[in-house]
Amino acid sequence: MNNDCSDLGSQEKKAKMQVVRSHTHRASYPSNDAVSVPTIPLYRSAPSLEVKLEEFESFAIDRLRVLKGISDGLSRGKKPEEMATLVKDLWKANMRHQHASEVLNKDIISHFVLRLVYCRTEELRKWFLSMESALFRYRFRDQSAEAQRAVMEEFDLPYKAISNVEYEGVKDKLVQVARSLGQNSSTVDAIYYKVPFEEVPELVAGRKVFLNQGFAYVAMSQVVSLVATLFRSQLSKALILTNRKWISSIRENEKHRLTPIVEAMSSSYLGPDYSQPREYGEITLKDIDQVAKSSFPLCMRHLFDKLREDHHLKHGGRMQLGLFLKGVGLNLDDALAFWRAEFSKKVGLEKFEKEYAYNVRHNYGKEGKRTDYTPYSCQKIISATPGAGDQHGCPYRHFSEENLRAALSTMGVNSRAMEDVINKVRNRHYQLACTLTFEALHGMPSSGINHPNQYFSDSQKIFQQKVSSRLQLIFKPILVNCTSSPRTSNKGYGCGEANEQRRCLKGGETSMEGFFSLSSFGYRKELI
C-alpha cells in the first residue's frame, strides 16, 4: 500500500495504483529495453495505461477470437502439436498491431478487459481460465530457452536447478523416468528443478516426473507445466478479486459506459454478421420449402415444420425463425406473406394483421436496439431456455435423445453418423453435433457450425458448387470469393447508437478504480 506510489509520475495516476498495491512490480512486463526478447506478460497487475474506448473494445474482441479459436480446437480434440500451430496462427492473425511498440500493450489491455468480461460468473471464469491458461502454455512453449528463463524469473519461482551433486545422486531415477516416457537416455535433460509435487499436478498425474519425499524433479523441458500451473492459479485468484471489484463498484460506476460493453461481450458472437443478407431476395417464397429441406439446420427445420403443422409458433420460435429467414434473404413482403399464410389458418387474417404483422415488419426495421434484430447465433440459441409449448432452442441441446434421433433420421442422417452425433451430444458438444450432421448430409467437411445462417450459406454454397462444377469449372474461383471473411468487422455487439451515448458523458477520462484509465477520444495519449 505504501511502497508503490513513489514511483509514479503523475498526480492523477496515484489513485489508480491503489488497486495495484499488493504487487511489487509496477508493470507486469519486463522493461528489458536492451534485450528485445519477446516475453509473455504475466498480467500481474492492471497496467497504468490509457486506453481509447474503441481499443478497449476492439482489442478485447481480437483476443476473444484467439480464445474462442482455442476453445474450438480443444473441443475438437486437437492434439498438442496441432494446438501449438493453431495457437500460433490465431495469435498472429488477431493480435498484431500496426505499431510494433503497441503489440505488448494490446496483449495486456485485451487480457485485462476480458478479465472484467469473464469475471462475472463461475462459468465464465472457468472458461476464461482454461483458455487463457492454454494460450499461455502454448505461447510459453514457443519461446526460446532464454525467454523461458526470463518468464520463470518473472514468476519469482523459488526453485533453483539442482546441483551437480544432487543430480548425480538421482540420475538413475531421472533416466528411468525419461525412458518410461519413451525418451532415449542420451537425450535426457541436464537441468532439473526440484519442486513440491503439488505445483506440477499434471506431471504427477502422468507419472512424468521422479518423486521423492514430496518433491518432483522437473526437467527443463517440462517447466512449461510448472509455469502454466502457477499462471493458472494466480489468474484464478485474480478473477475472484476482479469479480468482487466488479460487483462492488465498477458495474455501477461504469453503467453508462463500460458496463454495457462488458456485458455484451461475453455472449458476443464473433462470426460474420448475418443480419444483412448479401443479396436481398436470395430466396423466394416458392423456393422456401425446398431450401428448408436441403439447407436449414435442425433448429430451423424443426421450427419450420412445426409452423407448417400447427400454423402457429410462440414468441421465441417466431423470433428465432423470423430473423433467420431475414438472414437467408427472404424479403419483407415475402416474409409477411409467409407468416400470414400460416398464422391466418389458425388465428384468422384480422388477428394476424393486428397482432403479428407489426412484429414481422419490426424485425426488418432499423429502429430500436439493433442487436435484438440480428439473426441468433448458435450460442444464443443453445443457451435459450424454452418452456412448455415453446419450439425454439437448439434440438441437440433441448431434445430428448429419442426425439433427436427421430428428427435426425427424418433429416436423412444415416445410422453410423447418428451415433457420432449422439456421442457429441452426450458430451454436450452441441455445435459439433450439428457440424457432424452437416457433414453427414452434405458429404463434405465443414469448418464448424457457429451460426444457423452460416449453416445455411455453407450448405447453399456446396449445392451451388456441385452444380457449377458439373457445368463449368471455370467459375469456381468466383464462388469461392463468396465466403465472407469471419473477421470483417466488430459488428454485432457494440452498436453505433450506444457509442454515441457514451461519448455524451462528460470527462473523457475516468479511472476505473485503478482498472484502466480510459480516454474516449484518446487525445491524452497522443498529446504525451
Binding site: 518410461s180 519413451g182 525418451q183 504427477v204 507419472r207 518423486l211 521423492n212 519425499q213 514430496g214
Partner: protein, 458 residues
C-alpha cells in the same frame, strides 16, 4: 428392513443376566447379530471418543494462542441411523458435544467429511449472504480399496465376501500405496483401517495432504492408476515406454512379483485349469506364443508331477517363452509385468480420493452387516492382519461382561480385544500426528510474530 430385531427390554436384561450366568460358570455367548442396543453399549463403554476428538482437532484444542478454536466445529460428521436414515452436516464444538451426540444418536455408521469454511450446520445462514462461502477447505487425503473390485482375479470369493486366500490382495495394496505415500510423496501421518467387511481405508493426515486442492488429489490418484478401461471393458494394464517408472518398478520388484509368484499363483490356482489359463493367455498379444503354451498345457494336464505346483510350473514356462530370445517383439517385452500388475496391483476407487467432499467411514465404527469393528491396521505388519479375527461387537460385549465390574484406569476397552486396536491408533498414529500439529502451530505462530515485528521495524 434388515435390522428390525431391536428389543430394548431384552438388552437391559442381558447385561444383568450375564453376571448371573457367569456366576454359574455358564455359556457367555451373545447372539451374533448386530443390534442397536449392543451398539449403545459399545458407544457408551468402548468407543474411543476422546481419541477421535483429539484426532479431528489436529492440535487446535490446546491453549496455544495460534490454535483455531473453530476448527473442529467446521468439520462435517454424518450419521447413518437405524432404518437407513442419513443425517448429514452434523458438527461439534467440543469433545463433550461429540461424545454426547454419538451416545445419544447411536449411529449405525459415522462418516467423516471435510472441514468447511464455516460451521456446516449453519451453512444455510451463510448461503443467504450470496457469496459462496460454504466450501470445503481441508480434508484428509483418503483412499478406499475394496476387495469386490478384484472379482475378476480371485476365484475363492466374490462380491463382499473375503477369505484368507484373497485378503492378501489388500495387504499388497497397503504395502504399495503406503510406501509410495511415504517415500514418493513424503507423507508421514497415515492411518490404515479395516473397512469392517471387504476392504481398507486410508487416511493421509499430514497438513500438506489435508490442504491439497482437488487437482492435487486427482494428480495423486492418477499417479497410482495403471488400469485403463472401465466397468464395461476388461480391466487392462498396459505398460509402455522403455522402462517402468521408478514407482512402478519398485512396487513390482519389492512387492508384486514375489506376491504373485509365491502366493497368488497357487492360492488362486491361476493356471491350473483351461478356463483360468486362457484368461492369462488373453493378455499375451501374440498368437504363436499363446498357441505354443496352450499346446503344452493341454497335454501336460495329466503328466506333470504331483510334487510341483502346476501353477508355478506353467508360470515358469510362460516366463521362459516370453523372455527367451525366440519372441523378441517389442510389444511382448512388458507382458510378464503386465500380467503381474493386472492380478496384483492395487485397485483404488478413484472418485473417493479425487474430491475433498467425499465422506468416509470413521475408524472404530462397527460394520452393521458383519458386526466387526473398523480397527486400524499397522502397515508395517499388515500381513499379520486377519479380517476374520477382528473383534465383533458381540465378542467385545462378552469380554466386557466377563470382566465384570472391575474398573480399568485406561477405560473399559483396556480389558477387551479392542485394546491392541486402540493402542495402535494412539501410539502409532495419533501421538506422532499431534506432536507434528503442535510444532506446526507453534512455527506458524512464530512466523506470524516475526512478520509483525518486521512490520513494526519497517
Amino acid at each position: 428392513m434388515a435390522r428390525e430385531e431391536v428389543n430394548n427390554e431384552i438388552d437391559e436384561m442381558l447385561i444383568d443376566g450375564y453376571e448371573v450366568q457367569q456366576g454359574q460358570g455358564g455359556d457367555t455367548t451373545l447372539p451374533d447379530e448386530f443390534n442397536a442396543n449392543y451398539l449403545k453399549l459399545y458407544y457408551g463403554k468402548l468407543f474411543p471418543h476422546a481419541d477421535l476428538y483429539k484426532w479431528m482437532s489436529y492440535g487446535n484444542d490446546g491453549k496455544h494462542p495460534a490454535c483455531d478454536p473453530s476448527y473442529l466445529g467446521r468439520r462435517e460428521f454424518s450419521y447413518t441411523l437405524d432404518n437407513d436414515i442419513y443425517v448429514r452436516f452434523q458438527s461439534f464444538n467440543s469433545a463433550a458435544e461429540l461424545e454426547n451426540s454419538i451416545k445419544d444418536k447411536c449411529p449405525f455408521k459415522i462418516d467423516i467429511g471435510p472441514v468447511y469454511s464455516v460451521d456446516p450446520s449453519k451453512r444455510h445462514a451463510y448461503a443467504q449472504s450470496g457469496d459462496n462461502v460454504f466450501t470445503p477447505v481441508e480434508r484428509e487425503l483418503i483412499f478406499d480399496i475394496d476387495i469386490s473390485d478384484y472379482d475378476d482375479v480371485r476365484y475363492c470369493c466374490s462380491g463382499a465376501d473375503v477369505c484368507l486366500n484373497c485378503w492378501p490382495l489388500m495387504t499388497v495394496a497397503i504395502k504399495v500405496i503406503d510406501t509410495a505415500l511415504r517415500v514418493d510423496f513424503g507423507f508421514k501421518h497415515i492411518l490404515w483401517a479395516f473397512s469392517g467387511r471387504r476392504g481398507v481405508h486410508c487416511w493421509v493426515c499430514d497438513a500438506k495432504a489435508r490442504k491439497l486442492s482437488n487437482e492435487g488429489r486427482a494428480a495423486i490418484a492418477e499417479y497410482f492408476r495403471v488400469y485403463k478401461g472401465n466397468e464395461n471393458s476388461y480391466k487392462k494394464v498396459s505398460l509402455t515406454g522403455h522402462a517402468l517408472h521408478p514407482f512402478l518398478a519398485r512396487s513390482y520388484t519389492d512387492v508384486l512379483k514375489e506376491f504373485f509368484e509365491t502366493k497368488l499363483l497357487s492360492s488362486q490356482n491361476l493356471l491350473s485349469s483351461e478356463e483360468r489359463f486362457e484368461k492369462i493367455l488373453e493378455m499375451i498379444p501374440d498368437q504363436s506364443v499363446t498357441s505354443e503354451l496352450r499346446g503344452k498345457w493341454q497335454e501336460s494336464r495329466r503328466s506333470s508331477s504331483v510334487k510341483e505346483d502346476i501353477n508355478v510350473v506353467r508360470w515358469e514356462q510362460l516366463k521362459q517363452l516370453l523372455q527367451s530370445g525366440k519372441y523378441k517383439a517389442q510389444r511382448l517385452h512388458r507382458c510378464v509385468e503386465e500380467i503381474v500388475f493386472s492380478f496384483t496391483y492395487p485397485r483404488l476407487d478413484m472418485e473417493v480420493s479425487k474430491h475433498m467432499n467425499h465422506l468416509l467411514k470413521a475408524p472404530f465404527c462397527v460394520h452393521p452387516k458383519t458386526g466387526r469393528v473398523c480397527v486400524p491396521i499397522d502397515p508395517n505388519h499388515c500381513e499379520e492382519f486377519d479380517p476374520t479375527t477382528v473383534p465383533t461387537l458381540s465378542q467385545l460385549l462378552e469380554e466386557l461382561n466377563r470382566e465384570g465390574l472391575t474398573t480399568d484406569v485406561e477405560g473399559e476397552w483396556n480389558k477387551t480385544s479392542l485394546r491392541s486396536a486402540i493402542r495402535l491408533f494412539r501410539f502409532l498414529f495419533l501421538q506422532p500426528l499431534l506432536e507434528a500439529c503442535k510444532k506446526e502451530i507453534e512455527s506458524s505462530y512464530n512466523a506470524k510474530l516475526k512478520q509483525s515485528k518486521d512490520l513494526l521495524s519497517w
